[in-house]
Symmetry: C2
Subunit: 257 residues, 2 copies
């Protein structure tokens, strides 16, 4: 039997420990092929490079036996280049993105390069999973995540993702024994309360630097934020149709104008 072909990318770049952890898990299940950014690309969302050329270089970062490439573009560029240039005719059985250093719950999916890369693969018809660990640190411990990442990849390869084609998986920062398992849930209606650091550069010109805190006003029991607080791994099936169907009827009188 041929081993499944699994495309791996991320947004923290090729040298982040999170992608190394993901490759280690994938190696036990199938054939990994890596196309990842050559620099950190956090917060790049679904950005693509229209006005600039892209570079793509083969690398041996993960050993001579692992096919891997670094790309100068965004996470979504990586997936597009993987499909059209690196893989050409080969269709991956799955695309996995991450493991991100830090949370991608709630609306963070919109800003997240990790999730946008996975979404791009799903748009192209490939089942995709974005993984994030709730620990921003470069030294984050990915070991407790590994058995769960393996389980959900094996589940997906066996069963497919049906109506969704895309999962947003967030893993709590807990020891293995304290992780209670998976919880399939919805995206919390939570967001950011931003603030901007205001300062002056060495030439005396002002600059602004975004900061902020995550605020959850959604007290529903069935959200990703709640699942993580309860010690579960949150699994949100996602879609790329942003139509607000309920609002179509409300707005129909626009057509009379």
């Amino acid at each position: 039997m041929t081993k499944p072909l699994i495309l791996i990318t991320n947004d923290d770049g090729l040298f982040a420990p999170g992608i190394k952890a993901l490759i280690e898990v994938v190696k036990e299940i199938g054939t990994p092929i890596i196309v990842a950014p050559d620099s950190p690309q956090s917060g790049k969302g679904h950005a693509i490079s229209i006005h600039e050329p892209l570079r793509l270089n083969k690398v041996t970062t993960f050993g001579e036996d692992i096919e891997a490439y670094e790309c100068s573009g965004t996470p979504v560029d990586c997936v597009k280049l993987a499909r059209n240039v690196v893989l050409k005719g080969r269709i991956p059985d799955l695309c996995v993105s991450g493991v991100n250093h830090g949370s991608n719950v709630a609306i963070n999916i919109l800003y997240s390069g990790t999730m946008s890369a996975a979404m791009e693969a799903s748009l192209e018809g490939v089942d995709a999973i974005g993984f994030s660990l709730l620990d921003f640190s470069f030294e984050a411990d990915f070991e407790p995540s590994k058995p769960f990442i393996k389980k959900i990849i094996e589940y997906t390869l066996k069963n497919g993702l049906g109506e969704s084609k895309l999962l947003n998986v967030n893993i709590p920062k807990l020891p293995l024994a304290d992780i209670k398992g998976f919880k399939v849930c919805r995206q919390a209606n939570a967001g950011w309360k931003e603030d901007f650091l205001e300062n002056k550069d060495p030439l005396g010109k002002p600059y602004y630097w975004m900061s902020g805190e995550f605020v959850n006003n959604d007290s529903g029991p069935d959200t990703d934020v709640q699942a993580l607080e309860d010690g579960y791994i949150s699994v949100v099936p996602c879609q790329h149709d942003l139509t607000a169907y309920k609002a179509i009827k409300e707005l129909k009188n626009l057509e009379e104008m």
Copy 2:
């Protein structure tokens, strides 16, 4: 009565004719305040600047009586800076983005800086509309769009956007007399078939440059693509909850693993 305060941004940059057309319409209805990118930002999606400082400069591009700023960041950065630095306590009654030079139908909403800026405003609780004209040209004629843009802004200020808070409005490239009016519809399940131009730079190193064609496999009569083909302005109410609710039940057995 106080005139409504209307925040204006775009992704083509402060010098694009599309934003000028939008400002001209808004001036007839309310008080415009402009925070727009200082360079073209097409395809930047929902990208934000986390690792770089942002610049913000007051400009008189649109006349001494119009409050306007150029920002070094992405369209979403512009909206965040507008809210937190420029407007501070003032809450706009509406945010409008565009008019984009080129279509933003179907899944282009994910890649579009125009729509991501509008979505960011809606995330912050402000009704928002993204406008796009189906003409990529810098010399595109925005005159036929203007009466319709005025109508839908007035409708939104009067009635609000209800369940959605965000509209994706695409305008066909037609003379005024041939535009049939508004059609409220859903996002077509259409996408891109990419190709990459492959070439060598002056040093002989390879580069890749994305190109592609838009492919619509969605033959539904109720899509934005169809509305535009029929000579209507498409209006898609949008949301930021990407949860695929139908798939939650399908995946519940993951919780038993």
